[in-house]
Amino acid sequence: MKLVGFVPPSLRETIGTERVTLGPDHVYCPKATAETVTRVIDHLETKGRAIIQSYRVDELIDRIDEAVRLLLDRTSLVREKLLRDLQTSEYDREMIDLHLTDYVKQFRAHELRTFLVEDFGNPAVLDTWQPRVKGGLSRAIAAPVTYHSWSGNVPGVSLWSFVSQLLVKGPIFGKVATREPYVATAFAYALEQVDAHLAEAIALFWWPGESELQHVVYERVPLVVAYGHNDTLARIEASLPVTTRLLGYGHKWSFSVIGKEALDAYEYERTLHDVAWDVVNFNQQGCYSPQVVFVERGGNVSPREAAAQLFHELGTWEVKHPIRPLALAEKQRVQAYVSSGRIRAIQCEGADIWCAPDASYSVRFEPEGAVEPSPLHRHVTVYPFDTIEDVLAALRPLRAYLQTASVATSTERMTDWATQLSDVGVTRLAAVGTMTGTEAGWHHDGRLSVMDLIQWVDIDERLYRASERLVSYRQ
């Protein structure tokens, strides 16, 4: 029996569960009605908030760390159940197992302290009034309740904002993603196991995208964090009162840039092996997954040879992490991409395509012609370039969607390219092989991770002075 969602422990008896179908799974989730949702929000705003605010930040870090350890521990029931629940995901078991560990490691105590110091400098602002350099005092407060709407099928994406929300001592009302509701659920239960008191500040529900219940929430919360397609984000924004803030994370486009230094006889195999991993992990479905690879001319290995090698490396990864069968429409899209590649190879002298016999992965080489998107699911095109300008020209129209660029080149050129790439809109520069593994405190789509979730409150220096004149022990 799969359980999805989470109700604060003290409300559990009065809020039942209902059976719903999420994709291939039948699951039980909290009964979602206007009444139950309202009651939960009332509870989070009052009791939940009082409880979570009574913790100091470093105490919260410790609790989260303990819950995370349950997810890291290969012998824990929490992890075992989670992996079982994720079996119906399209990603193979080993990929999930590896990913879960790598990913969840980022939420250990040390990493959490890093996020907070990164963003706040002095995380104690979350606990009490802290003196400011300019004078006066400031405090950072989370909203009484924040709504997080998660989407997509990449496991664990929800943890980022979930943990960030707890760190700023704000109760969370989350709507789990239809295609991957399990990681957030598992984490909530792990936290309850560590500290049931703290769990009173957490609620996770599920409802279908078009449900009217989201509007019940929008009326009550001052802050919404939402993931999804830009159209979805636009719809949400249109539904929010002007006083409610929206932090939206839409779909993104990422890519790789391989410099000639990475293509010498010693380096090229490893470089392309790593690029292939970026393509294979999550079958290119993450916002940080590369859709195309730009390869510089002039190295020991030509861009065309690099494309052939990349194809070979995709094959190697495929043995370890075979891809599951796609839906018919996805297959058709891949087929159109591969056919296009074959036709281009006939029409254009330099164009080429290498394709696995069952088309489970492919690499196209396109020396001329505009940049085309990938159909995903491990199909990628290599575009050769002479100067970084060529790459920038192709990227400019996509400014609003650019996110991660992996770069393989010398330090000097890397910083130079990083400057130019960031000017066209890239928000993260990563090493090849690490595109899908983000670092602690990364700025998702260029935004601050935890700072966005709070409001600053300032006590004016003059108020402090004025109050000093009225103390009982004044002279």
Partner: protein, 352 residues
């Protein structure tokens, strides 16, 4: 000459798997040898006359190939006809060159006689003349039917300004008066325009009348569900559902499929002995288990100049008598957070 033997096979109009197999393989060999882009395509897939022994193994090209490659055994300047696709989505049009139209005409003669009309009738054609649309295979096809079977009183009821509703209404009324069964020929979307125009005004056509439609909507008018369309057609013209025949064809092929009327829906498409269909997995190219939904691939012996094997973008499943056409595959929305194709194209102004 292989063309002569293919023509004879078509005119014989009999099921004969062995002869079909032989002719397809021979034709494939000719296309491999004489059609350079196709040869390159086959070689990339490691399919050559040495390895291709059955028609099922003949490498199929996607319909898109007709847009980007010149698929013709005979130099283009020497061909007599170029039928072009309607270029509905991307703007670019596929080109199917015919060295001559003997086989195309032989093929349609046999199938029309069997599925559409077999005696002279009064015919109303709701499609322009071939002289106005020289690159339209459908215009050629419909015009030929009118030429061969049209009795006095037949006519064309569409011109550059649209459908001649009044003249068409007169035609129907006269036929009713004379108790002369009629044959209506038109594109599916033309009938939708007729529904909109005539609304509650219905006709009761004489017994033996038939209504023929083809082409689907091509984004021209509001799509009606198939069953509703045929019910409306039957009601509007007073013609029983079994006499409403649909033809499924495409510029990339030379042969057409038909259903046997719409008493049941969805209708099964049936073809003559010189065309075959496979329902496949588009990635592996393998046949799907019988009855499963997949991509439709056609193998047309009458495609003598271009390529016999064509993969469509249509989805369907196999049936005892032929296949059932479901339409386009439903778009798979992105499941992750990586930018989708449609959004990318919107931003870059690209086309597919």
């Amino acid at each position: 000459m292989i063309e002569k033997r293919i023509e004879a096979f078509i005119r014989a109009n009999e099921e004969d798997e062995e002869t079909f197999q032989t002719l397809m393989i021979e034709l494939f060999r000719k296309q491999f040898e004489e059609n350079t882009p196709y040869r390159a395509f086959c070689q990339e897939k490691r399919k050559t006359p040495r390895t291709v022994k059955r028609w099922q193994d003949i490498p199929f090209v996607p319909v898109d190939a007709f847009k980007h490659l010149t698929l013709s055994r005979v130099p283009v300047e020497e061909t007599v006809a170029c039928f072009m696709t309607s270029g509905s989505t991307s703007g670019q049009r596929g080109k199917h060159y015919h060295a001559d139209l003997t086989i195309y005409d032989a093929s349609m003669d046999e199938t029309v006689r069997r599925f559409v009309v077999d005696r002279p009738m009064r015919i109303a054609c709701l499609f322009p003349r071939a002289s106005e649309l020289p690159n339209s295979s459908l215009a050629h096809y419909l015009n030929r039917i009118v030429d061969q079977y049209g009795k006095e009183g037949s006519g064309y009821f569409i011109d550059s300004s649209g459908i001649a509703f009044d003249a068409f209404a007169s035609f129907l009324k006269e036929a009713t008066c004379d108790d002369e069964p009629v044959l209506l020929l038109g594109a599916t979307f033309s009938y939708v325009h007729l529904f909109d125009h005539f609304q509650e005004t219905t006709f009761t056509l004489p017994k033996g009348s038939r209504v023929f439609d083809t082409g689907g909507y091509k984004g021209q008018s509001e799509a009606l569900p198939e069953a509703t369309f045929y019910e409306t057609l039957s009601a509007q013209f007073g013609v029983p559902l079994e006499s409403c025949v649909n033809m499924y064809g495409m510029s990339e092929l030379s042969t057409q499929y038909y259903d046997r009327g719409h008493a049941t829906s969805p209708a099964v498409k049936v073809g003559p002995p010189w065309i075959r269909t496979r329902i496949i997995d588009p990635l592996t190219g393998d046949d799907l288990p019988y009855g499963e939904t997949g991509i439709i691939v056609h193998y047309d012996l009458a495609n003598t100049n271009a390529v016999t094997a064509v993969m469509t973008e249509d989805v369907g499943y196999a049936h005892e008598d032929g296949f059932v056409l479901l339409g386009r595959a439903e778009g798979a929305e992105a499941k992750g957070c990586s930018l989708q194709l449609a959004d990318f194209l919107q931003v870059t102004g690209g086309t597919r």
